[in-house]
């Protein structure tokens, strides 16, 4: 009888542990879905809700590095809510971007071999040009160091190639950047996105729509409109709900 009782309690305990692991996975998948919706609309309230979801997942004390990564990523997006639609809320950009940097540093401290964290940090560091131009030298040095590190760790990461492309796109030609130079990098990025399979459903997978969008924008600047249509349509086909493509890129292309 005692053996039976022990067996049942053991089963209950194992089930409880499994439930906890499932809780984490389920919560991460749910949060990820909400995050995708929120980034598509770039609605501040929705993003704040998702931020809260991830913060609560931290309570499960599981893979905290990944949860911190996602909170940082939400803040990365929240930072842009201060700059969209012609707004120029530097304070908001600074508040969320600095918070994201703090969190991504924590995530790197917790797990130093997760290349995605360095990639996000690379993007966050680039944002600092917007509100800390006076620290141009320091930002450029950090950027060069991160670039080297990521190239050594995960050069074929499509998100890295996308950010590299965006950095090249916005850098003046005189300083080694330019629209033309960004195109092969964006093309490499979308090629890498097409074959990329993430380790888990709830792992980072953002950036594909942005790579297509910027590629269309780059060709638009070069007035190669057949390429603009090709990449914009392809992007829409792959990411039909992308707010970035449906709103920002569409509006930019219509300006022409």
């Amino acid at each position: 009888m005692k053996t039976k009782l022990f067996f049942i309690l053991a089963v209950l305990l194992i089930t409880a542990t499994a439930v906890k692991a499932d809780d984490f996975k389920d919560a991460m998948i749910k949060a990820k879905k909400n995050l995708t919706d929120a980034t598509n609309t770039m609605d501040e309230k929705q993003l704040l809700k998702v931020r809260g979801e991830y913060e609560r997942i931290l309570q499960l004390k599981q893979d905290e590095w990944l949860v911190n990564y996602f909170i940082a990523y939400v803040d990365y997006n929240l930072a842009y809510t201060g700059m969209s639609d012609g707004k120029n809320d530097m304070e908001k950009m600074k508040k969320y971007n600095n918070s994201a940097i703090e969190l991504i540093n924590k995530a790197i401290e917790q797990k130093s071999d997760f290349s995605e964290s360095y990639i996000l940090k690379y993007g966050l560091n680039f944002n600092r040009f917007i509100y800390e131009m006076e620290k141009m030298m320091e930002i450029a040095t950090t950027s060069a160091q991160l670039e080297q590190k990521i190239k050594a760790m995960d050069n074929d990461n499509p998100r890295f190639q996308y950010l590299l492309g965006a950095s090249t796109y916005f850098t003046p030609e005189n300083f080694g950047g330019g629209v033309s130079k960004s195109i092969p990098i964006f093309e490499k990025s979308i090629q890498l996105f097409s074959s990329r399979v993430e380790k888990e459903e709830y792992y980072p997978d953002w950036g594909g729509d942005q790579a297509y969008g910027y590629l269309a924008l780059a060709y638009n600047k070069l007035e190669q409109f057949d390429k603009v249509k090709e990449y914009y349509d392809k992007g829409k086909e792959l990411y039909p709900n992308s707010g970035f493509l449906n709103n920002y890129i569409k509006a930019e292309l219509e300006k022409k």
Partner: protein, 727 residues
């Protein structure tokens, strides 16, 4: 049967725990405003919610018993509360407290102006090189800060009534004693040889500085050069009076880097354009080159070699009462520093450096035909580590060797400089050693209050004196952006070797100054800065020439007191400007003074107004206005003819009893960025002294001293153009 009962009990308990309880409430800040997006969660669970735009939250939980409710939001302190969840719905309103000021490290040092990576820097490197009238010269830029004055139109600076030689320039922990060209050239402007683009950090302290710095009485300019360059590139600049070339290389693995910089001056086109008709035997020319080699020895270890060489020469006509002829001077300066930095632990830092500098100059004028050599070498080590969260410790040591030599002919009588005048031959040298030790503790007592206490001791080999300098700085944070800062400390500086040589004495004491500083600062991220600071300094053991015994002694004394004001406004991205004002009273009984009188650089009022406006993203226009009270001088009251020498001997009034006319200057510049042959290019046009004011810096006299003649520099109004190109 008993097993079934247990199982039944388990399901009952489980079932009961699944009953949902609603927890809701409102989250506000202290002003009752909603904290939108605040996150509420039951600790250890994922049960919680995010506050909506009115601050309301609501969630359901199946948990029962004692738990902790946590609420978090960016910019607020974490809120936590013990709650007991029973069968009733709960309403929990939360008031969040703002987090305070965790992001910025507070800078404790009073009287400090900074540039570099700190968020609260006073000026960025870009702002420094663009100051109109500063000619991209770091030292001239610093004179737009309160409390510092240009000595003549050159680069050397005098701080809060002190002499220029009481300012120490520190580069990567090495002392830089001759960072100027044309500094010994009479009637010619001196320029700094430091390239501001090569600096990642600049900290100028006009008083109350750290125990790290020894053998300096008034002020410290602490510079840090870049370690590894951030990218490869070459920048060439060609101007009306000079050309320069700079380059940087960093290896693909970012383990090795190198930079170089070279320049050449050729002022003929500049003189012609500005109609300057000075009579030169050698027009002023200067050449310089230098650079860095950096190797990353480990994750934290960096070995850096810095070297720089400058050569300058000039021959200019000068008229003194006894002789009218060319002053010919030539100078060579070499400086090198090898520095190794490593972090022995994740939080500590060790810097070890060895530096060497050699400066020699030749001056010829009439009977004067003299060469001076000055050699310095120094080894230094600095270590810093936090002892705990509230306490940082740093300590260091340095040994400095200095050799001074003077050779050639020097006039015997100051009033007769003719080539056939009596002279004495100098062929002498003197050397000294100084050993310094310091230790400092910084205590962050709270986020509102920090204090730094330091002590340093120096031993000087000639006087064999050991000195002890305690120093204290504190800062009290009044609000997120405002501070009260104060400093008090004792500072010593040994008399220059030439005085030991000249006097033949070994018991000249280190000159002493006690600094007392109190100020208020408002600094909003470097965009809005307001600072007011009062200071009092008393001096002891100043070098005094005793006319009775015809010898030097250390019995001089004096004081300096004043108030500095600084206001800066930066309206990104269009406007940037600042106003500095200082009122000072500096009196000393020093050198040839028979009583306490105005110090050599007792400048009562100093005002600088600087403004820059970006007309477009590519076009910037700037203006600087400077005003200061004329500096003191010792007037000649009469003369007597000395037939054996066929010259007049002047009679002087009390030391520094006269004043030069007030100084006024208005400068403008314009920079335009554009594409030139597909390359980044910048064009610069500068007009200095637009109002054409004839600023007088010295007086000379007719041979019988009956008439005073003002000496000013070059043409009052100066136009300069230049073009920079990046490859």
């Amino acid at each position: 049967m008993r097993f079934l009962a247990i199982l039944f009990l388990f399901f009952i308990t489980a079932g009961a725990s699944f009953a949902q309880i609603k927890i809701s409430g409102k989250i506000t800040d202290k002003d009752a405003l909603p904290v939108v997006g605040a996150n509420v969660v039951i600790k250890g669970t994922i049960d919680g919610a995010t506050a909506d735009e009115k601050g309301y939250y609501e969630f359901e939980t199946s948990k029962k018993g004692s738990f902790i409710l946590i609420c978090t939001s960016i910019g607020f302190k974490e809120f936590s509360k013990n709650i007991n969840i029973s069968n009733d719905n709960m309403v929990i309103n939360i008031v969040m407290e703002t987090e305070g000021y965790k992001t910025d490290e507070i800078i404790v040092t009073a009287s400090s102006f900074t540039s570099g990576e700190n968020s609260k820097v006073t000026l960025t490197p870009l702002e420094i090189v663009r100051i109109p009238g500063a000619d991209a010269d770091l030292f001239r830029a610093i004179t737009t800060f309160p409390g510092s004055n240009q000595v003549d139109e050159g680069s050397r600076i005098a701080v809060r009534g002190g002499d220029p030689n009481e300012v120490l320039t520190f580069l990567d922990n090495a002392s830089l004693y001759n960072p100027f060209i044309f500094q010994d050239a009479y009637n010619t402007q001196s320029f700094s040889t430091i390239n501001p683009w090569g600096l990642r950090g600049i900290n100028f302290s006009s008083g109350g500085f750290s125990a790290r710095f020894g053998n300096v009485l008034s002020a410290v300019l602490d510079l840090q050069s870049y370690d590894l360059p951030s990218s490869n590139g070459i920048f060439a600049f060609i101007g009306l009076a000079n050309a320069s070339l700079q380059g940087a290389y960093v290896s693909p693995d970012t383990k090795f880097g190198a930079t170089f910089a070279t320049y050449q001056t050729y002022i003929k086109p500049f003189l012609d354009l500005n109609g300057i008709t000075e009579d030169y035997s050698k027009s002023p020319t200067a050449t310089g080159f230098g650079g860095t080699l950096v190797y990353k020895t480990s994750e934290t270890g960096i070995l850096k070699l810095y070297a720089n060489y400058d050569h300058s020469k000039v021959g200019i006509r000068n008229s003194s009462p006894s002789f009218n002829g060319y002053v010919n001077s030539e100078a060579n300066s070499f400086f090198t520093n090898l520095k190794y930095s490593v972090a022995p632990t994740s939080v500590s830092l060790l810097n070890v450096s060895a530096s060497f500098s050699n400066y020699n100059s030749i001056s010829k004028y009439g009977v004067l035909d003299n060469s001076i050599g000055n050699l310095y070498s120094k080894i230094r080590a600095d270590f810093s580590t936090p002892l705990n969260e509230a306490l940082d410790f740093s300590a260091g040591t340095e040994f400095e060797y200095n050799k001074y030599e003077s050779n050639g002919k020097v006039p015997l009588l100051f009033y007769n400089l003719r080539p056939d005048a009596p002279f004495f031959e100098l062929n002498s040298s003197k050397n000294s050693g100084r050993l310094g030790l310091y230790s400092e503790l910084k205590s962050k007592i709270s986020k509102y209050f920090a204090i730094v206490g330091g002590i340093r001791s120096d031993y000087y080999s000639i006087s064999k004196k050991v000195i002890l300098d305690p120093r204290l700085s504190l800062v009290f944070r009044l609000s997120e952006h405002s501070y009260i800062k104060g400093s008090a400390g004792i500072y010593h500086q040994n008399p220059a070797l030439e005085y030991f040589l000249e006097s033949g004495k070994t018991d000249l004491l280190p000159e002493q100054s006690n600094h007392y500083i109190l100020g208020y600062e408002y600094n909003r991220d470097g965009d809005y800065i307001f600072r007011v600071e009062g200071y009092y300094k008393d001096y002891k053991n100043l070098l005094l020439f005793d006319r009775f015994f015809q010898n030097f002694s250390s019995s001089g004394y004096g004081f300096a007191k004043g108030v500095d004001l600084f206001l800066k406004v930066r309206l990104k991205p269009k406007f940037n400007g600042w106003i500095s004002y200082a009122i000072a009273d500096s009196r000393r009984k020093q050198f040839y003074a028979t009583d306490v009188s105005s110090a050599n650089y007792d400048i009562t009022h100093t005002l600088s107004i600087v403004g820059e406006y970006n007309i477009t993203e590519r076009l910037t226009i700037g203006a600087t206005y400077k005003y200061s009270t004329g500096k003191p001088f010792t007037p000649v009251t009469g003369s007597i003819f000395e037939p054996s020498q066929d010259v007049y001997i002047p009679f002087f009034a009390e030391v520094n009893s006269g004043r030069m006319p007030d100084y006024r200057r208005f400068d403008m510049n314009m920079q335009y960025i554009f594409n030139f042959l597909g390359k980044f290019a910048v064009a610069v046009v500068a007009v200095n002294n637009i109002l054409n004011v004839n600023n007088v810096f010295e007086y000379t006299y007719t041979p019988d001293y009956s008439n005073k003649i003002g000496i000013s520099y070059n043409s009052p109004r100066i136009i300069y153009v230049g073009l920079g190109l990046q490859f």
